[in-house]
């Protein structure tokens, strides 16, 4: 009872309510997952391309022979888009970049911290893990996502590693 009374006394003061609200909001704001807000130079439509029959590795070429999957550059896009296929302004941007001899400045949405090393070759090619397992259903995306579709934490990675009896060597990912 005494506790309740003290509590009542405390909450009677407006200042303390304000302070309480402050604290609550502060903590919530810290915990609420931060998301990167990213806009790509070309609003690439994954769905259209998948429907047209393309596989992930057709454009993200390096997935089978390199640690990095790679983001496609103009030369890959130009294999089909040298001539206009649609009337989309976005498609025109490809040829604009090519004309200016510029690389497409893709922004890397799926980023790992600098101290983490991840090999696409091992996961995608050697172990045959489907892209969607980590990258989510990109085939259904009409526009480039502004944040990763899948929440990666070390726990998520380690869960899979434990289940699949993959390496638990710390240095395997942290070099």
């Amino acid at each position: 009872m005494k506790v309740l009374k003290t509590l009542q006394k405390v909450t009677e003061r407006a200042g303390t309510i304000g302070a309480g609200g402050f604290l609550l909001a502060f903590v919530l704001a810290l915990l609420w997952p931060a998301r990167a807000n990213v806009t790509q130079p070309i609003q690439f439509n994954h769905r259209k391309h998948v429907d047209a029959g393309l596989q992930c590795e057709n454009c993200h070429e390096r997935v089978s022979n390199s640690p990095w999957a790679g983001l496609p550059q103009v030369d890959i896009c130009l294999t089909c888009h040298e001539q206009p296929i649609t009337e989309s302004r976005e498609e025109e941007k490809i040829r604009d970049f090519a004309k200016r001899n510029e690389a497409i400045p893709w922004k890397q949405v799926n980023q790992l911290p600098t101290h983490v090393y991840f090999s696409h070759r091992t996961h995608a090619a050697s172990k045959q893990i489907a892209c969607a397992v980590c990258h989510g259903d990109m085939e259904k995306a009409n526009a480039p996502p502004s944040a990763p579709l899948f929440k990666w934490t070390m726990t998520a990675c380690m869960n899979c590693h434990e289940k699949q009896h993959a390496t638990e060597d710390c240095n395997g990912c942290h070099r």
Binding site: Q8, T11, E12, A14, G15, I17, G18, A19, G20, G21, F22, L23, L24, A25, F26, V27, L28, A29, L30, A34, R62, S66, W68, G70, L71, P113, T114, H115, Y117
Partner: protein, 786 residues
């Protein structure tokens, strides 16, 4: 609790502030983490390996560059390059720090006022240079002085031809250190008329090496090759371990790693050599057959005028008795005997020296004394020994105008030219030059109205310059390589650029070709090529005509080729000039791995047709120099011509200057450059904590006497000046001797320490009495606390 207006306002205000502060804190923590965790080089990229040639020193070893996403990230040796076969010295490992150095000069600069620089375009810079050179060449006297620290190669040849076409008559190249020994060998073994030759040692196959004062492991010949050979000497897979005996007054790294360090008093290397000769003669251990059939001047002889001369044998027996040698050199007689016996024990013994370091090539008489040892064991031209080999190097297609510019590496001749008030001074990667000039001479440089420096980094030459032309590192341009100093085989190599030139830097070879086009007339005619690859291809045509040699291959290929050669076979790796050009680009080079014969050379292009211990050419030269024919006894005259050892180096004033200072070159800074590179600075002080500083090494006895401890600031004073250094006391070092590394902290760039106090300011070069060029820079000094 009632939620009245007041409470509501406080609550919402609190929530809003909380949310905002929370977000900001999150961002702040994120930013804090980001700031703490600096950039990683992670970027998408494929791993590729590209070959190049390192040019951190004039040696030119083959390197293999690991690039990820077109960025070079690691350098290692190229296993196909025969000189080093996949090892590089620490300088090569630090090549990337040079390539990406923050103080790289990125565009041409013209001096603007006292300290300022103005960036200009290449066009403007070259126009300016062309105009100045035109003006000077049209004046009565040609007053262009050019100095190149670049090392032998096509670029230097292009430079020489350019200078010749524009009216200069001499190009000074910084010395390699082998000049005096090479000269001595040419006097004794003769020189083929018209052919150019260089001295080479077949160290890989030597079984016993007497090293008179050469800092083998600190930059001798070409470092990666010498280090590799050292490893081969001690390879347990080999039948016999090569013995290395080191004669020197100081305990350098090379001395410490030798099988035996023989402490020798300063200036007595030649005496020690003749002491060994005495033992060989008195115990009859020398190669009698070679000496009888192919050596002149060994026995007493009578000349055409009927005068009788003393022979080498008599001179040594009478004047270099072990007791006397021991007294002069400080070496116990028993040691000399033991070493001499070992030296003569089998085939493949060789003596190298004296000193043979750039700036300290040694005395001619000492060099001849050491070569006489080689003659006594019959290794001239034999496997494991010493010989004069043809020096081809890359040749520019012949110039119809005739002879090229003379290449001189005499500091004395350079000083004379500089004293003659030249109008234009061109410094090509010549930072090491400044370390060989005294303060007074450096001041003279400031009086030259137009100074051009070709350099990659801001270095000490830029403070004297009016125009800076940014050069490229070897990774950014086509590079040519050739057999480095003292290497026993012919090598010609090529490599393509690994990355594009950084900023607006341009390889000097290309700069010369552009300049030639601007200047027009005979200069354009002399250098008609459009770019470096065209020059290289034109030069390769001549090599393709060679009916010998192979494109670079693996070590297995090398063994096979030698096997073929023993049977007298040679199969060509190419059938046309084009195929040769493609092959040489792909494999990296061409070389002629011809093994040296087991037998010594039997005929010599000397007046007597033999290896001359008494050199007729030297005799003639001495006469021409006005030494007077036979003033004094015949013995005095003969002593001058035969290998002999002059007086010991003594102090002019042993009271005031009792300690002998040895300037030394360290491997990280071999070639006297690289002080700006952090990784090299960090490894420069093996005995403790002196990196980024300029220090002197003292023995415990000397420092104790003067109350000096490690870390104290001291003055190092000679008869001509004094400089301040930090003292370092090294256990076991020779009393009475001080070692002073020539380099230390950089004087330009972000880690510069200003107020140059260069060692050259206090050094008094010792000139060779015959050649009149500097033989040593060892100077008597005193050291006291500052």
């Amino acid at each position: 609790m009632k939620l009245d207006r007041r409470r509501f306002l406080f609550l919402s205000g609190g929530v809003a502030t909380g949310a905002a502060t929370g977000r900001l804190s999150l961002k702040a923590i994120g930013a804090f983490n980001e700031a703490l965790a600096p950039e990683m080089g992670a970027f998408p990229g494929d791993e590729k390996f590209a070959d190049s040639i390192c040019r951190m020193c004039p040696g030119g070893c083959g390197v293999r560059v690991r690039t990820v996403g077109d960025r070079p990230v690691k350098i290692d040796g190229n296993p196909l390059y025969p000189v080093n076969r996949s090892g590089v010295c620490p300088r090569g490992q630090a090549l990337l720090q040079w390539l990406y150095h923050p103080d790289r000069v990125m565009r041409p600069q013209i001096r603007n006022g006292e300290k300022g620089w103005e960036s200009v375009s290449w066009d403007k810079a070259l126009q300016l240079m062309a105009a100045k050179l035109d003006k000077v060449s049209s004046a009565k006297q040609k007053r262009v002085v050019a100095v190149s620290g670049r090392g032998a190669g096509l670029t230097r040849k292009l430079f020489a031809r350019f200078l010749h076409a524009s009216g200069a008559n001499m190009l000074f190249s910084l010395p390699t250190g082998m000049e005096t020994s090479e000269h001595a060998l040419q006097l004794m073994a003769g020189r083929t008329n018209g052919g150019s030759e260089r001295m080479a040692y077949d160290l890989e196959n030597s079984s016993c090496v007497l090293n008179f004062g050469c800092d083998l492991l600190e930059g001798w010949g070409t470092p990666a090759h010498t280090l590799r050979v050292f490893g081969q000497w001690r390879d347990t897979n080999r039948a016999k371990r090569t013995t290395l005996i080191h004669f020197d007054s100081k305990l350098s790294i090379s001395a410490a790693r030798a099988d035996q360090w023989v402490p020798t008093r300063p200036g007595t290397l030649g005496t020690a050599a003749l002491g060994i000769a005495f033992v060989l003669l008195s115990e009859n251990l020398y190669d009698g057959e070679f000496v009888d059939d192919n050596v002149f001047g060994f026995n007493d002889w009578t000349d055409t005028a009927g005068r009788s001369h003393v022979g080498f044998r008599t001179l040594v027996r009478e004047e270099y008795r072990l007791s006397r040698v021991s007294e002069l050199t400080g070496i116990p007689p028993a040691t000399l005997v033991k070493i001499a016996r070992e030296f003569a024990a089998g085939r493949g013994a060789v003596a190298i020296g004296p000193t043979q370091s750039p700036g300290q090539p040694g005395k001619l008489s000492d060099a001849m004394a050491i070569h006489s040892l080689n003659a006594l064991v019959g290794n001239i031209g034999a496997r494991g020994g010493v010989a004069l080999v043809p020096t081809d190097g890359w040749e520019l297609p012949a110039d119809a105008r005739g002879t090229e510019v003379t290449l001189s590496s005499s500091m004395e001749a350079l000083e004379t030219s500089l004293a003659g008030s030249p109008e234009v001074l061109i410094l090509d990667q010549a930072e090491s030059l400044l370390d060989l000039l005294s303060a007074a001479q450096r001041e003279k440089l400031r009086q030259i109205p137009f100074v051009v420096t070709i350099t990659t980094l801001q270095d000490s030459t830029t403070s004297y310059a009016t125009l800076i032309l940014p050069d490229c590192t070897s990774l950014e341009s086509w590079v040519d390589g050739q057999a480095p100093t003292a290497y026993p085989h012919e090598v010609l190599s090529i490599s393509e650029p690994v990355i594009a030139p950084r900023g607006e830097s341009k390889p000097f070879g290309d700069t010369l070709l552009s300049l030639a086009k601007i200047m027009g007339g005979s200069i354009t005619a002399a250098l008609p090529w459009k770019d470096l690859p065209e020059v290289l291809q034109a030069s390769s045509r001549r090599v393709a005509q060679n009916k010998r040699g192979y494109l670079f291959g693996t070590e297995v290929d090398e063994h096979w080729q030698r096997l073929l050669e023993r049977g007298g076979w040679w199969t060509s790796d190419w059938t046309s000039e084009e195929q040769f050009w493609t092959g040489i680009k792909e494999n990296g080079g061409w070389w002629d791995p011809v093994s040296w014969a087991a037998e010594p050379q039997r005929s010599f292009p000397t007046p007597s047709g033999r290896f001359e211990l008494y050199s007729h050419r030297l005799e003639e030269w001495l006469r021409q120099q006005g030494k007077g024919a036979f003033s004094g006894t015949v013995r005095d005259w003969d002593r001058q011509v035969l290998p002999h050892s002059d007086e010991v180096l003594v102090s002019a004033d042993s009271e005031r200057f009792p300690l002998l200072l040895h300037p030394s070159d360290q491997l990280p800074f071999f070639g006297n450059n690289g002080q700006e590179i952090a990784y090299l600075q960090q490894i420069s002080s093996l005995y403790g904590g002196m990196e980024w500083q300029r220090w002197v090494e003292l023995s415990p006895e000397d420092s104790h006497e003067r109350g000096i401890e490690s870390g104290d600031l001291v003055w190092v004073e000679s008869a001509v000046g004094k400089v301040r250094r930090v003292a370092l006391v090294v256990e076991g070092s020779t009393p009475g001797t001080v070692i002073a590394p020539r380099t230390g902290n950089p004087t330009t760039g972000r880690w510069a320490v200003h107020g140059e106090q260069r060692l050259a300011d206090i050094l008094v070069p010792v000139l060779d009495p015959v050649l009149k060029t500097r033989s040593s820079m060892a100077t008597y000094v005193n050291i006291y606390k500052a």
